[in-house]
Symmetry: C2
Subunit: 339 residues, 2 copies
């Protein structure tokens, strides 16, 4: 398994990115990582974080698309950027996966430009894993597609169930449609049309209908389908609210304790670590030909190591082949990339 890792992508790159790569190759003897970015900076980071490794190589490039760059302008003006070079390595079949904590819009846009969609896929989507009271669920799309059609959302349901089955090992994953009420006639036109599409499809039995925002963390569905605008906002609201609650909880709870304060402090620290949204190990862009894992901009070494492992796991499970096979048998199989 060879993975191109965008060494320049992320708020603290290349330090923690390179550190995560060093940890990943040590943990998985089948992994080879191509660190894509500025040679000198990567060398320095490597020296700091454990030195070179036979399965770590550097692919030099001179440019970086920053978090502030517009994806469209960035891609046009920075042809030698790490994001573009990663995808080119994939297009040339020199790697099987791309992992980046860089500008999400640019990673997605470069992927859509340099790679084909998987056969029958109308639009790729980013699949984020969220914690619930009954284990993880996957929500998609969280930012690749802000103007989806009902057919796109239906396919997110197909791709999400394959992901949940392979990665979460759920035998028969349930699918919920994010909406503002549980009744069938609720919500905007997109929600109503998507609801009807699921109800008249082979996924009908797995479709639990509309779910509301408060149902996600209860574990009401294994797969939560929504448009990329809503999904992106929800994911980031969760991150912000989690942070907020940890802060007020630490203040209120620790303030109430004396002798056992340290115990509680450690417990809160464990929780903050366990549910840290920047550490969830990356969200796959599903539906594109190749594996792409998108990481939080604030990713640390642990998040990068996790994301590299997720890429390897997605490849091993053959997620992409299963998506094509499933869509082939479904109601929206066709040869075009969009309707």
């Amino acid at each position: 398994m060879r993975i191109a890792l965008d060494a320049m992508g992320g708020d603290f790159a290349p330090g923690p990115i390179v550190a995560g790569a060093v940890q990943a190759v040590k943990a998985d003897s089948h992994l080879r990582i191509v660190l894509v970015g500025d040679h000198a900076q990567i060398e320095r980071a490597l020296a700091e974080h454990g030195g070179s490794h036979a399965r770590l190589e550097i692919f030099h490039c001179s440019q970086v698309i920053t978090m502030e760059d517009s994806p469209v302008v960035g891609l046009r003006k920075k042809p030698d950027s790490s994001i573009i070079r990663c995808w080119q390595l994939m297009a040339e079949k020199k790697v099987e996966a791309v992992v980046s904590a860089g500008n999400t819009g640019a990673v997605v846009a470069a992927g859509l430009r340099l790679r084909r969609f998987l056969k029958h896929v109308r639009r790729p989507g980013i699949a984020a894993t969220m914690p619930t009271l009954h284990g993880p669920c996957v929500m998609l799309d969280v930012g690749a597609n802000v103007h989806p059609k009902p057919s796109h959302l239906y396919q997110y349901g197909v791709m999400g169930t394959i992901f949940a089955k392979q990665i979460f090992k759920k035998e028969m994953p349930t699918i919920g449609l994010m909406n503002i009420g549980s009744e069938e006639q609720k919500g905007h036109d997109l929600a109503k049309e998507t609801h009807a599409l699921f109800n008249n499809s082979p996924l009908q039995e797995q479709f639990v209908g509309n779910i509301e925002g408060r149902d996600i963390h209860k574990g009401a569905a294994d797969v939560v389908v929504c448009d990329g605008f809503v999904g992106n906002v929800v994911l980031k609201v969760c991150e912000g609210l989690f942070d907020f609650i940890m802060k007020v909880t630490a203040k209120e709870v620790l303030g109430s304790l004396t002798s056992e304060r340290e115990h509680a402090e450690r417990a809160i620290h464990r929780l903050a670590h366990q549910y840290d949204y920047s550490e969830f190990g990356g969200a796959p862009l599903l539906g594109i030909d190749g594996i792409c894992i998108i990481c939080h901009g604030a990713s640390g070494d642990r998040a990068i190591k996790n994301a590299l492992a997720v890429a390897a796991r997605n490849a091993a499970a053959g997620i992409n082949q299963l998506i094509v096979k499933e869509l082939e048998a479904g109601p929206l199989a066709d040869s075009g990339e969009d309707e």
Copy 2:
């Protein structure tokens, strides 16, 4: 101040609704409440919760629009429902405000049918108060308008700033546009057009631009503007995630303690109470001629009491008159109800 209270609306009605009314009239000697609903049930609840009161009267009606009813069908088939009767009392000027914890869609739809919009208002919106690290912020719309135009979102900014100024006592409230990135060109068409509208308006100086989901609880803006679909999902996601985190925190933190366990338990209980999303005291439907406060379906007596106080406060502050005055002077003043 006379308020029509939908005694039949809410998951546990009429018990906690009536109890909240009893507490409210005791706390505020200027308040008169009309309890709208089934006479016998209200009488029973009154007997349970402190008995009758000179400033509490009952307006009998025979029907209830349930949480499961479609708003449109409910309004058509249940002309003698508590929701419709509340709005009729307002239309007949027998009350100045309506408070309901019933079917939100039906409350809004009945209001839009039985009352006019305030002059210059293109579309009313529901304004929910959220906690942040720097005091409360107001997010609107959270469910009245799932297909808004940029002009609607702009007006939500106007109405939200008036609310934040009067109710939160912020001198110069800031406005953020909910989006999926901070850059101007981010998001869907609605977001881009709304961004441009704010940037070329009298609110330009208060407009802090796009904010992301993770910024809300940091207190990045006093007023968060979004479409009703996104706002509704966000509000309910916060409710669900808060509940989730309180559960895992209680388990992890309390499990780590022995002698001081009770102290921590009380602190967590205080927190859960303080940020209980069902207790936030109701969200005003802004932009309609009259005062309407929409409560969480799970509202308890404290939430209803708070909502009645919010209604009184909105009336005292003259929010509606200020909205008309502000819109009159702004770029979208006109005589039509929509463009």
